[in-house]
Amino acid sequence: MRIKIDHRACTGCKQCEIVCSLAHTGSVNPWRSRIRVYVGEEFCLPVIAGPYTEAACNSKGTVIVDGIEVDECVVCRASCPVKSIYKEPDTGIPLKCDFCGDPPNPQCVAWCGPNALTLVEDT
């Protein structure tokens, strides 16, 4: 199973960050969330936390999304030493999406009002 992201549908409301934090930590704090939304002028990009990587990569590249240049670092899912997100704010312990258990029941998908996130079978 994986979470499919339709960035054109995302409105930047960040309810996914809230429910992720609620479900995993019992408090509301987007910085404790395993999904973060990058709000742009033309569109928003929800990015889900992947595995931790110890070394910062040297990549300074950009990717093109819908004809617009986006910093590669923004769409990268890794929790890493140079990024401020996907870390417990107090302790720095890295965070990673766990699909809210087994079988997967991701709360971000359940709470996504505009249906930018959907749970799909691997193909």
């Binding site: 960040k14 019992g26 704090n29």
Partner: protein, 605 residues
């Protein structure tokens, strides 16, 4: 503590002294937060008779117990101060990402007092609170200011892209700096705490901007209860036609509806309809023409905000809106029939930081004065009939106080009186009337006339909503909804989503789950009534009388729309009686006792 953070941040701009205080527990119970707390603090701390632009005025940024708690559409913040436009207490609210960041930083309220010797901006990031020099930002437009501050936070504070993206910024443009009396506070790429001129208060304090990034948390008392309640709410909302429309069109579904039913402010309220606007009556047309994306406030699943763009290199950025009120006041009310021109006017107001509603009322007033021959062309420098594109130039001149713009910047009453016809300014308590023509609905006239901040559309509920249509109960509904909205503004829940009767029970439900103390609808209605009456007492002390609860002469004596006039006197008598006020508009001792405001009432009784 659940819901609230229990902390007030107080920043003295004169001495640059920054300290924190505990939120008084009793006030949290009686005034909830947000607008209620602001009314209480303004009443306690300032003499309502002061000049609103003096250092004695307070400028309060307030959140409520629900802000950032995850309750749907609970991210707005309230800005409050004595208004330089209406001389009343005022509390516009604004969405975006600033409210939640202030809360996550650990503060329910941020109070600014005094006046900084030099322009500064306030940076509020958790425990790190600083006033930073803003001399180099002075004169910059709203979007330039946001970009410059993000740049500084990147190089100076070493914030990465994600942190820069998550923070919230409120700022003033040149209009606020120039003390234009209807300047607003802009926020997060085109949102606005718009009415009542608080941008000028911010400018008078030499405060250019507030930026906040909070990494703390809000504690929720009953997490499982809240999560289940929100899922249930989603289910209910999915089937609701009004909310479906909100999601797809935002407020764009309204101008067409108003125009088609001859209820839209047009040609300085001489008409209820504009022929030129007919082509935009289908909101799908507007959406096709200018929409870039749907834009939500933090924690709101409905995303009624729409970013727009026009194909014109002189207006390169995307803008928020224009919303219904802007389309009506800067559009049909000024006789402007072209959507692109309306977008340009909206863009100019956003960048300068000006309330589009009062600005529109000012310009339509100037246009009528010009057409009637009271305002000579030599005073303006160019012709200004209804529908003329020169109004874009005039908007610039108001924001920068050049030429005749300097006179218009002083507000509608001063301007229209200068040319001998104060009755041609379509405003109440100095504030321009919003989009729906009050002659279309009697109740609307009553709401505009009795609102504590001036002609505001956000302090009660529209009389055409389901459950609000019975003409025999207009007055009763007006009072009820004013009280309810006062409580919701203190929560702080979004007025647009939780309008009137539709989701009224949600306020007490969310409050109970989040704060852990039981809240009932009756209890919150009482708190709302207390807030409304306290605001009224503030206004009475500042010199407001029953004569100010009025409508422009055109609305009460010239049948312009639907061949009707608003019979305000009859409605007012009934309204005062229902409120427990004397016919002089002063709350009775009995009513004040009931609300626990006897002591406060001593100033006016």
């Amino acid at each position: 503590m659940f819901g609230w953070k229990g902390k007030i941040l107080r920043i003295d701009l004169t001495t640059h002294l920054i300290r924190t205080e505990a939120m008084p527990a009793l006030l949290m119970k009686e005034y909830i937060g947000g607008r209620g707390m602001c009314a209480r603090i303004l009443f306690d701390e300032i003499d309502p008779r002061i000049d609103a632009l003096s250092p004695d005025n307070r400028l309060i940024f307030a959140t409520g117990p629900l802000t950032g708690s995850g309750a749907p559409a609970a991210s707005r913040y309230i800005v409050s101060a004595k208004s330089p436009l209406s001389n009343c207490v005022s509390s516009p609210c604004c969405g975006g990402y600033l409210g939640s960041n202030l809360k996550y930083s650990g503060y329910d309220l941020v109070i600014f007092e005094g006046r900084s010797p030099e322009p500064v901006y306030a940076s509020i990031c958790d425990d790190h609170v600083e006033l930073r020099p803003a001399v180099h930002l002075w004169g910059k437009s709203s979007s330039e200011t946001e970009a410059a501050i993000r740049g500084e936070m990147k190089s100076g504070d070493g914030l990465d892209k994600w942190a820069l993206n998550a923070m919230g910024i409120a700022n003033i443009g040149p209009a606020g700096e120039n003390l234009v009396r209807f300047a607003c506070i802009m926020s997060d790429g085109g949102r606005a705490a718009g009415r009542s001129g608080l941008g000028a208060v911010m400018g008078s304090k030499n405060l250019k901007a507030i930026v906040s990034l909070g990494k703390g948390q809000v504690n929720v008392a009953d997490i499982d209860g809240l999560r289940k309640a929100i899922m249930d709410f989603y289910e209910q909302a999915r089937d609701n036609g009004e909310l479906r429309k909100r999601r797809r069109y935002g407020t764009w579904s309204l101008p067409g509806r108003a125009n088609a039913s001859k209820s839209q402010a047009s040609f300085n309220f001489k008409e209820g309809y504009s022929e030129a606007f007919v082509k935009y009556e289908d909101p799908e047309v507007i959406r096709d023409l200018i929409r870039v994306r749907d834009e939500a406030c933090f924690s709101c699943p409905f995303a009624c905000g729409k970013r727009s763009r026009i194909k014109d290199p002189e207006y390169p950025l995307t803008a928020k809106g224009p919303e219904h009120e802007t389309m009506a006041l800067l559009g049909t009310n000024c006789g402007l029939g072209d959507l692109e021109e309306i977008c340009r006017a909206n863009y100019i107001c956003n960048e300068l930081g000006m309330d589009t509603i009062t600005a529109g009322a000012m310009i339509s007033c100037a246009m009528e004065l010009f057409e009637e021959g009271h305002l000579p062309e030599k005073d303006i420098g160019y012709p200004l009939p209804f529908g003329d594109k020169n109004m874009l130039r005039l908007l610039h001149e108001i924001g920068t106080r050049q030429g005749i713009g300097d006179l218009l910047a002083q507000g509608g009453v001063a301007f229209a009186s200068r040319y001998g016809h104060p009755e041609l300014f379509m405003g109440i308590k100095g504030m321009g009337m919003p989009a729906w023509h009050p002659q279309a609905f009697d109740a609307l006239g009553l709401q505009y006339a009795t609102s504590n901040t001036g002609a505001s559309h956000t302090k009660s509920t529209m009389p055409f909503y389901e459950g609000r249509k019975d003409p025999a109960r207009f007055v009763e509904f007006t009072k009820k909804d004013q009280d309810y909205i006062s409580a919701a503004d203190s929560g702080v829940l979004c007025w647009i989503i939780y309008h009137g009767p539709l989701w009224k029970e949600k306020l007490s439900e969310w409050m109970t789950y989040v704060t852990g103390t039981p809240h009932t609808e009756e209890g919150l209605d009482l708190a709302g009534e207390r807030i409304w009456n306290l605001e009224r007492l503030f206004n009475l002390r500042s010199g407001l009388t029953v004569k100010d609860d009025s409508l422009p002469q055109r609305i009460t004596s010239e049948p312009r729309v639907k061949n009707r006039v608003v019979q305000l006197d009859r409605l007012l008598d009934e309204y005062y009686a229902l409120r427990g006020w004397e016919s002089s508009g002063v709350p009775t001792r009995g009513k004040l006792q009931e609300l626990g405001l006897e002591k406060e009432g001593e100033y006016v009784l």
